[in-house]
Each structure stands twice: as C-alpha cells, then as structure tokens.
C-alpha cells in the first residue's frame, strides 16, 4: 500500500517539476529592463505599445507578405521613401532624387545613414539589394513592377548570364543612378521605392553577401536581423502575439526618445477594451482599426483621443464577365445595390461611395464620372431589356473575417433579390476564396483592394492579369493601360487614366462599393505619435509618452 503511495507521489512531483520547467522556458529576454526606465529622465515612460489585430509574418525586408510585417519591416530597415498621409513622398533613406530626362534618376543615400553595427550604408548595399531582388533563386517579391530598369527582363529578373543589374550605376559611396529602358513618370519610380508599395529595403551587404541566395529567407540574419538600419531593432518576434523592438541609439535621423516599442496582436474586439485599460497606447489603423460599432464607446473614453481616417482602401465586387456577360445585367446590379444605406447604417457614415478603382483623394480620381445611384426601378428595367433568366442562380462569394463586409454582403444580396435576381451567398475562408477567384468560379465576389500610390491598375483589368478575377478582356483597356505605364508625363497619364475610368464605368468588370475610413485611437498620454494609415511610423523616433 505505502509503496503505491510513494510511486504516486513521485509521479505527481515529476509532473510539478515538468510544469515548472515549462514556465522557465517561457521567460523571454528583457534585457534593458532596469536601465530603460530612467533614460528619458522623469515624466516619460520607456515603452509604447501599439495594438494590431492581424498576426505578423516574417519581417524579411525584401519579402514581407502581410501589411503588419511590411509596416514593421519598414521600421527596422528604412526604405528610400515613405508615403505620408497626404500620399506624398517623404525622403527616408534617400536624401535627394533628381532627373532631367526621366530616364536616369540620380539618388543620394542620407550622408549620415549607417548600420546598427556602425558601418555606413553605401551604394554597395544598394547594388547588392537590387542584385538580390533580381535573382530568381531568392525568395523575394522581386522587381517585376520595376522591370523597366535597364538589365531586367519582363519578370524583373536578371538577364541570363548577368550577375548584377546593369541599370544601377554607382557614382560614389553615397550616390547612384537608376537607368530605365524608357522614360517613366518619376512618381512611378518613387512609389516603387517607398514603404507601402514594395519590398525594396536596402540590405546590409557586408553581412549577407556570402550567404546562399536560395536559403537566404531562412537565414537567422534575415529572420532575426541583428544588423539593421531603422529607428528600432528587433528584440523578439512572436507573430501571433507580439513583436518587441528596441531603440537604435545611433539612428541617423535622431535617437528614438522611447526605449521600447511593442506591437501587441489582439482581436479587433479587444482593441477598444485594452485602450481603456491602458494595456495598449494606440492602434495601427492599417492593421487594427477601431471597429465601427465601437466608435461611440471610444469617443466617451476619458483617456483616449479618436483619430479619423481617410478613404484609401476600398471594398469592391468583381462581376464575372463570362457568366454575367451582358453589360446591362452588370449595370442592373450596380443600380440595385443600396450603397447609401450601407454607408449610413453599417458604417455610421465613416466611408465614401466610389465606383471605380481610385478613391476621392487619389490624384488620378476622375471627378467627372457620376456614380451609379441606388435605383431599383432602373435596375428592373435593365434586367427586362437584357432578357436575363431570373431563375438562374447568382453565386456571391464572400471571404470570412471582415465582419462589416459580411454584413454588407447580406444587404447586397437582399437588394439583388428585391429586383428579381436569384442570389445565394457562399462564405469561404480566405485561401479557399482566393482559389475560387483565380479559377473564376463565382458570379459576384467580394475583395478588399489596397490603396496604390501609382495609378497603374493593369494587374486588375489587363487581359489575363493576376488580379483580373472577372476575366475581363477589352483590347482598348489593354492598350490604354500599357500606354499609361510607359507615359512619363503626369498630365498625359491623367488623360489616359480618365479614359480608363470612363470605360470601366460602362463595362463594369468590377464595382467598388465603399471606401471605409480606418479609425485610429490614441491615449492622451502620448505626446508625439498619431495612428495613421500612411506615414504613421515616419517620425517614430520622436514618439514620447507620459507616465
């Protein structure tokens, strides 16, 4: 009897031992914990916590895949430019950008810019970065959008036998020239060298040059970079829960005033609660906007200021050209949808209605196009004229995850039923949704479209383009879009894209629904630092928070 008891006790204590071992393994390193508190003198805290609601993937400076990872990668590795809230380009790693012929662009790297190990950032690093991006063996987003650079093929890869990109010419340690095959709009180049558009962030060649390109993305120097260039350096990345950053005291645009910066991943529903309890100090609207239904609650919080957003991104529906082949049917759909109701009731007025691929603040937005109004009578008439078989089912594909969008899809389905369409909503998780999109296996499908600084929309509307889920093919659009890409003069480009918008408005391969404003909220203790969808982290080194 006693024997059994002892055995039991042993097992029990073993379990306890095991448990305590687990708790030990979990303690993450928090080095400068004691010191940091005093670093700003009295009155300021050493930590700012930003709440986001999407998990963060790999912070690979040339292959960040999700918005969160792209934002944070741009804090670790400075891009040449950063887009601010007015969608203008601000210099970051670059300090000048000049051209006389729109074909040779002379750029200078910030003269004070250096890596965290003290070595200066030079044109050697820039050249290495472009060569790496153009190497097909490397896992990166590549240079396809910049295939206009001399020495690259259509896919943005190095031509066979070449070792380095011909179009990147080194002048001296800090000056280089980008040569393009033909003249291009300088803003096109700037857009592709800035944070939110591309994954072109200068890499430290002295650390990475001897690594194998094929496994570069798995190398610790890329996963947990110890040598970087930005205001903060990476301490710890736990993609589903938090990212910890620490100040880079030698940062060339000024040493950060707050020692530590945290990104905390929490469900959108908890963002409001954690702002209230002070567990987070602000949100990042691009990946953790305040939920629309929480606006009133946040407005009433004494410790938090609300920051309105602007219409950058938008939600749209793709209309399958092959199954909804009559433009009249597609126009009937546009007239049948009660978008004012969606914006007023569902989005509490925090959105704008647009039809085409540009929101109102986009420089290429065509003001002369009149939106499709909510007009069910006209919709019914158009259906009659087209001879559409009303019993034919229309499948509406909706990805799960965005609650407002899911609710909007229900309203839209009701609207379409009201004018006589036979619709059925099908909801899918995102990978499944995208697979069906790629196979054109839907009649109507929902997708959120991110803001693009450059007006080029060929990937959405050119024949067989990757995001042309509608399977739309119009030779005139194809011609205009390739003209637009090649046109260096902004005025002439504007004319081209005005025309593109007119045609798309008639053909309706897609209908934009609304552009919802991403709301931010920030603790009143934060003295410098504002949640913004664009340019939020441009001045991250100046952020301060009171105790």
């Amino acid at each position: 009897m006693k024997n059994v008891k002892i055995k039991f006790l042993t097992i029990f204590s073993l379990v306890l031992l095991f448990l305590s071992a687990c708790s030990g393994a979990d303690e993450t390193s928090t080095a400068s914990k004691e010191k940091g508190k005093e670093s700003n003198g009295a009155g300021f805290r050493d930590t700012i916590v930003v709440g986001i609601s999407n998990a963060v993937g790999a912070l690979n400076p040339i292959n960040a895949k999700d918005v969160g990872a792209m934002n944070i990668a741009s804090i670790l590795f400075d891009p040449f430019f950063e887009v601010d809230e007015n969608t203008e380009f601000q210099f970051k790693l670059a300090e000048s950008f000049e051209t006389t012929d729109n074909q040779a662009f002379t750029m200078k790297i910030n003269s004070k810019a250096n890596w965290t190990d003290g070595k200066p950032i030079t044109t050697e690093d820039v050249k290495f970065t472009f060569d790496t991006l153009a190497n097909p063996a490397v896992q990166s987003t590549g240079l396809q959008t910049l295939n206009v650079i001399e020495g690259l093929d259509d896919k943005g890869h190095l031509a066979k036998g070449e070792k380095s990109v011909k179009g990147i010419e080194i002048v001296d340690d800090k000056t280089f020239i980008i040569h393009t095959k033909q003249p291009v709009d300088p803003n096109f180049l700037k857009a592709n060298l800035s944070n939110s558009v591309s994954n072109i962030r200068t890499l430290p060649s002295h650390i990475l040059k001897d690594k194998d390109p094929a496994t570069l993305h798995q190398d610790p120097a890329m996963l947990k970079p110890t040598v970087s260039s930005g205001a903060y350096t990476l301490v710890d990345l736990k993609g589903e829960t938090q990212v910890e950053l620490k100040a880079n005291p030698g940062y060339y645009r000024g040493a950060p005033k707050t020692e530590k910066l945290f990104f905390k991943v929490i469900p959108q529903a908890n963002i409001t609660a954690q702002l209230q309890t002070g567990e987070i100090d602000m949100n990042d609207p691009s990946i953790g906007a305040i939920a629309i239904q929480d606006i009133e609650k946040v407005k009433n919080m004494a410790n938090v200021d609300i920051v309105d957003g602007k219409g950058y991104d938008y939600q749209e529906i793709y209309l399958n050209i092959k199954t909804l082949n009559d433009p009249k049917v597609r126009q009937a759909i546009a007239y049948a949808i009660n978008r004012p109701q969606i914006v007023e009731k569902l989005l509490k007025g925090k959105a704008e209605i647009i039809d085409g691929p540009y929101t109102k603040l986009h420089p290429y937005f065509n003001k002369d196009i009149k939106n499709y109004d909510y007009d069910p009578k006209k919709a019914k008439k158009l259906i009659e004229e087209s001879g559409w078989d009303k019993s034919k089912p229309i499948r509406i594909n909706v990805p799960i995850g965005n609650q407002v969008r899911e609710q909007a899809s229900v309203i839209i389905a009701e609207n379409l039923k009201a004018v006589g369409f036979n619709v059925q909503i099908q909801k899918f998780d995102f990978p499944t949704h995208m697979q069906k999109a790629g196979k054109h296996d839907f009649d109507i499908m929902f997708l959120g479209i991110p803001y693009q600084v450059d007006p080029d929309v060929s990937s959405y509307y050119s024949t067989n383009a990757v995001f042309n889920f509608s399977d739309y093919s119009n030779p005139e659009i194809d011609k205009l879009l390739s003209q637009g890409q090649l046109e260096p003069s902004p005025e002439k480009r504007k004319e081209i894209y005005n025309k593109v918008q007119e045609i798309l408005h008639e053909d309706l391969p897609t209908l934009s629904l609304y552009s919802d404003y991403k709301l931010g909220a920030v603790s009143k203790k934060v003295k410098v630092g504002t949640p913004k969808q664009f340019g939020m982290f441009y001045n991250v080194q100046d952020w301060v928070i009171e105790k």
């Binding site: 059994v4 055995k7 039991f8 097992i11 379990v15 095991f18 448990l19 687990c22 708790s23 979990d26 303690e27 993450t28 928090t30 930590t47 916590v49 998990a55 993937g57 790999a58 690979n60 895949k65 896992q139 987003t141 590549g142 396809q144 959008t145 896919k155 094929a214 993305h217 798995q218 890329m222 996963l223 990345l237 736990k238 993609g239 589903e240 829960t241 938090q242 910890e244 530590k260 905390k264 469900p267 908890n270 609660a273 954690q274 209230q276 309890t277 567990e279 899918f428 998780d429 995102f430 990978p431 499944t432 995208m434 697979q435 790629g438 693009q452 990937s459 959405y460 990757v466 995001f467």
Partner: protein, 316 residues
C-alpha cells in the same frame, strides 16, 4: 513490464505513419495554397509558379510526402511557409505556455471536481447532490469563448483587477506574480469545463463502487464511514477516472484553441489556427504529428498507471 512497453512503442510506429499519411492528404486537399494567398496584385503567374517550385508544391503529392518523411527521419520538420523559421523552434516556443495553462487547469479542475463528486455520491439525492450535479451541468455547457469574454468584461474591464489577456505584462516577463495574474482567468475558464465533467465521472464511478460487497464487509467490520469512502471506495472509483484523464491530455494540448484565442495566449492553439488560415503545411503536419504522438503516449501512460493503482493488472 519493460518488454510490454517496448512492444507498444513498436506498434505505435505504423499507427503514426498511417496518421501522417491521412493528415497529409487532408491538408493538401483543402482548397487554396500558401503561395496564392499572399500574392499581391503585381505578381505574375510565372513568379507564382516559380515560388511554388521553390517550395516543392508543384511536385506530385506522394513525392512531397516522401520528401517530408525523409526529412522527418533526419529529425528535420522543415521550415514554416509563413515565417520561414524552423518548425521545431516555433513549436517548442508554444509547448511551454500551453502545458502551463492546460495542466494547471486540469489540476485545478480535479481539485474542485473530486471532493464535490465524493460529497455528491455519498449524499446521493440530497439537495447538495442536486446542486452539485446542476452546477456541473452548467460548467460543461457554458461555451469557453462566452465565459472568457464575460470574465474579461467583469474582471479586466469593469473591476480592472486582472489583465485582459496575454501571458505577461510587457517588460515584466520574469515577474512570477504577474504571470499568476495572467493565468487566473484562462485557467478558470478551462477548469470550469473540466470540473463540470469530472464531478459527474467521480460521482457515477463512486456510486458504483459504493454498492460493492467488499464495502459492506468493511462496514460490517465497523470501519468509520469516512475511512470507507476515502480509502477503500475512492481508490477503486478513480481507476476509470485515470483512463479519462489519460485520454484528455492530448486534447488539452490542442483543445484549448478557443481559450487561447480569447486570452491571446501564445500557445499551440493559436499556432494551429494561424497555420490553418495561412495554409502553412509544414507547421500543420508537425502539429498533427505531435497530437497523434500525444494520444498514443497518453494511452500507454494510462495503461502503465493502471498497474500502479490496481495491483491485479499485470503486463507481460
């Protein structure tokens, strides 16, 4: 005993292999794939194909499987498709927090359930018994997410006594009391469900034993009722409970998914959801393998425990 364990371990190998084959097929049958998910509008079809080629996704399924299996035998679980980190490292980081949470919850749940179950059985059909069985029913049926959000609202938002989630306050990761504060709510949520279940098991099992002849003999010998229940009856009543606990452990490992999600607990549950959503095949395969392994291991462990509790059981 030892030959028995070795034999069991050898039987486990083909079972594990079968499980991995089935898992591999199911995972790959799910629509979508890790490359197309993250495609941005400016990527060409050629580039997508190139990426697929680099990840080996263009190979026939059986080639992919044997490739994976070959790596597994070399102790290599591969690299995550979404973070590029070695899968082993990712999982090792998550095992600790999950075990902390679930095993603590199991212990707390049992500490509540066993005494209540005993009282409930001894005082069968009393008001106390009805109350205990009624409450346990509530404990079983209350959804974890609902209870979790409710507790967050009361204790974190309204009273502000406890944190709303996470494993530690940022920057205070080695503070023991801070950790305990973070554990209270999620452990409470999980333990409620466990306690509710086990109250019923303990009660039923004890009731059965209490009716046995040898207990009547014990009473006839003039033993005190408390000695009879706690020493003679309980020990026998616990045997089936051990089986259930053994079977429960693997599910505790992966089954805290919802609780982990609500409390942003950086454990295996969160990892599982994230890797399903991003179709991170290597991580998913490793998680499945681990769960399968845990099921087999827990079964074996339970069988061995039997021989300790019940000397009549002998393994050859």
């Amino acid at each position: 005993m030892v030959p028995y364990i070795i034999r069991r371990l050898f039987i486990a190998i083909p079972v594990l292999l079968g499980v991995t084959v089935v898992n591999f097929i199911i995972i790959n049958m799910a629509p979508g794939n890790p490359v197309e998910m993250f495609v941005d509008p400016n990527t060409s079809q050629e580039l997508i194909n190139l990426r697929k080629e680099q990840l080996g996704l263009n190979d026939p399924l059986w080639v992919q499987f044997f490739h994976w299996l070959g790596n597994l035998f070399q102790g290599n679980l591969g690299y995550s498709f979404s973070t590029y980190e070695p899968v082993t490292k990712i999982i090792l980081e998550r095992v600790g927090p999950t075990f902390q949470l679930t095993i603590l919850a199991l212990i707390v749940g049992l500490l509540i359930a066993v005494p209540i179950g005993i009282i409930s059985a001894v005082k069968q059909y009393s008001k106390l018994d009805y109350f205990a069985t009624g409450t346990s029913f509530l404990g079983i049926s209350i959804p974890h997410f609902f209870m979790g959000l409710g507790l967050i609202y009361i204790f974190a938002v309204q009273l502000q006594w406890l944190p709303a989630g996470g494993i530690a306050t940022l920057g205070r990761e080695d503070d023991f009391f801070d950790k305990v504060r973070h554990l209270i709510l999620p452990v409470l949520v999980l333990a409620t469900g466990i306690a509710g279940q086990y109250v019923r098991y303990v009660r039923a099992s004890l009731l059965e034993v209490l009716g046995q002849d040898y207990l009547r003999t014990a009473r006839a010998k003039g033993l005190k009722e408390i000695v009879i229940t706690n020493k003679h009856a309980l020990k026998n009543a616990l045997i089936p409970i051990i089986t259930i606990i053994g079977l429960e452990i693997p599910f505790l490992l992966g089954g805290a998914v919802i609780t982990e999600q609500v409390f942003q607990w950086p454990g295996m549950g969160q990892l599982t959801i994230q890797s399903i959503m991003s179709r991170d095949y290597p991580t998913l395969m490793a998680l499945n393998l681990l769960t399968a392994f845990m099921v087999l291991f827990a079964n074996l462990f339970t069988d061995i425990l039997y021989s300790f509790v019940d000397p009549r059981i002998k393994y050859k």
